[in-house]
Amino acid sequence: MVVDETPSEVVDEVFRALADSTRRDILRRCATDEPSVSGLAQAYPMSFAAVQKHVAVLERAGLVVKVRRGREQLVHTDVAAVERARQALDELEATWRGRVERMSNVLATGVTK
């Protein structure tokens, strides 16, 4: 779980974790399902070790949680952590939509032809 007091090295891990398409795909799968690491490994054209490494990056960033069930390691997404990233970009977008609308007002009123 990512908390606000997380040291900056760790939050940078989150930033890096989200910037890879395989890892984002793993996040999507693990948000609706709770696959095992070996189950995930079968879904990608890469080695078990490579997939395990991606999961480890996501886990270190606090975006997925691993739980042991019997002999298996199940992975699920921390949806709240992922949602924060989306929310931040949405907020920035809303700010700039407002600004662009106001620019349009300034151009409409401030220009004499």
């Binding site: 989200l18 910037a19 890879d20 931040a88 920035l92 700039w96 662009v100 401030g110």
Partner: protein
């Protein structure tokens, strides 16, 4: 003016907004290069901006404050990384103290603007991202940015007869 597209790219954690204006490129550039025009659109409704320092040069700074309904002020600072009038501008934007020094815990957004002549008018492309994931979290925590609702309300105001 039309907002032509808004795309969020989760590879680079970047949102890109494209808007088309009927006005010539020099007029659109003046929205950025003329501090008196900049302050007419930078602040959210109810929080007009006053631009103090305005040095649109590489390494230059733009300082401003927003005045709230209670007369309260909050300061902000751009650091200009590159500029090429009238086609491109890159800067970071952060909260500052009243001396114009960036606040240590301020979220920092990274803004890149490109203007180009397009179909008799001007196309403006704004790419926005954050310096780090931590900056993203701060934006969410502080709730400093205006909502989409305000943008829509203003749009209605524009369209009203």
């Amino acid at each position: 003016m039309t907002i032509t597209s808004v795309d969020t790219d989760y590879d680079s954690l970047t949102t890109t907004l494209v808007a088309d204006f009927d006005n010539p490129i020099d007029q659109v550039w003046e929205l950025w290069s003329d501090p008196r025009k900049l302050e007419r659109w930078w602040g959210p409704p109810g929080y007009p901006a006053t631009v103090e320092k305005h040095a649109l040069t590489p390494g230059g700074e733009v300082t401003y404050f927003l005045t709230g309904p209670e007369g309260d002020r909050s300061w902000g600072l751009w650091r200009v990384t590159s500029v090429d009038p009238p086609t491109s501008l890159q800067f970071t934007d952060a909260f500052a103290d009243s001396d114009g020094a960036p606040l240590e815990d301020s979220p920092v957004s990274v803004i890149s603007v490109r203007l180009l002549k397009h179909e008799g008018g001007t196309r403006m492309e704004i790419r926005m991202t954050f310096e780090t994931r931590e900056d993203m979290d701060r934006i969410v925590d502080m709730g400093t940015v205006e909502g989409l609702k305000q943008g829509v309300a203003q749009m209605r105001g524009l369209l009203a007869p």
